[in-house]
Symmetry: C2
Subunit: 209 residues, 2 copies
């Protein structure tokens, strides 16, 4: 008995590219580079595997595209802008970063995967993308110290490291904590944790460095 013939995909190169990239994003986020299967990406996208090699060269090339498509987000500086209130701006920056990670779990996982597996080259990519944000923190911190909103001991590098650690570490823990909710009584929302993190990082009102 002859199978129903699979309907042929309409000829739309751009759409195919995008579909592949989306599927790759979720598969790489789920399994990491080594664990991801090219066949699974193709199947999830509903696109012939050959197209991956036509558009992205190879698995590595596709992975690079996935990463850089997510990392080109220097919106940070725009989000904060210049409001004249450095401490508030810092807090908004922290909240923006946390929201970025918690709303887009795939992105958080990609970051984590890449920090674990990425070679020196890919790590430079990550850092390049983080560079502008660090400069912003440095500038804001300096102003906040000048206005007395933060103590004189404020160190932008440590602050940035702590923000990244808290954000990344929290989203890494998230599934485990979710699974634990049933047993342990301890429960709090993501929002509550962000509030807590902001208080830790910037103090309750703004008198600590």
């Amino acid at each position: 008995m002859p199978r129903t013939r699979r309907q042929r995909r309409p000829r739309d190169a751009e759409a195919t590219r995008r579909t592949l990239l989306d599927a790759a994003t979720s598969v790489f986020a789920e399994h990491g580079f080594a664990g991801a299967r090219v066949d699974e990406i193709a199947e999830r996208a509903g696109v012939n595997k050959r197209m991956i090699y036509a558009y992205y060269g190879d698995k590595e090339g596709l992975y690079r595209e996935v990463l850089s498509s997510r990392l080109s987000a220097p919106e940070a500086s725009q989000i904060v802008a210049d409001t004249g209130e450095p401490r508030r701006a810092l807090e908004r920056l922290v909240r923006w970063y946390f929201r970025l990670l918690s709303e887009d779990g795939a992105f958080a996982r990609l970051l984590a995967w890449d920090m674990l597996t990425g070679g020196a080259r890919r790590r430079e990519m990550l850092l390049d993308s983080a560079g502008p944000a660090l400069e912003l923190v440095t500038a804001l911190g300096r102003r906040a110290v000048a206005t007395g909103e933060l103590g004189p001991g404020f160190d932008p590098a440590k602050f940035r490291a702590a923000v990244v650690a808290l954000g990344l570490g929290y989203s890494l823990q998230h599934p485990a904590m979710e699974a634990a909710r049933a047993r342990t009584g301890a429960r709090f929302t993501d929002e509550e944790f962000v509030d807590y993190a902001c208080r830790l990082l910037l103090g309750p009102g703004g008198e600590r460095g």
Copy 2:
């Protein structure tokens, strides 16, 4: 020309088991479960691959053993003991955890890998191992609040999540920051970051929650 015959391994089951476990620990820490190669583990241990299957059943079994051999470390409570000074005890607990992660990079990476890849079952394992520590934090926090060393808002669950996030997130960032040292002027030692983290989590002298 006949090759020099490889010297046969002395018959010592226990030593072979341990050697395999050590090799597996470093290979799994480097590449994660999916990325690790059974052949590489065997070669690094200098043990025939077959022995892995004899002693640990399969790759998964070996991985489980690696994890549980590291996770059976409920020394936390002993380290802190009952000193009567809850805030100091909490600080010692935090420093112990950070030292654990930073001194044993393989352990930190294993934890991170497992949080990314581990299914529900393995995550329960992780949480079980973290359970006693959480109870300890809860008890200490309650006492610290009672003595006024910490503010009344202290939440042990959030505190624990923040400690884990800071520790895990920091060690994840570590290689990337190391690579960045050359370019950015920002540099600080691990010790300095731990001090910073303790100040964040517990306040400079002990008046915040």
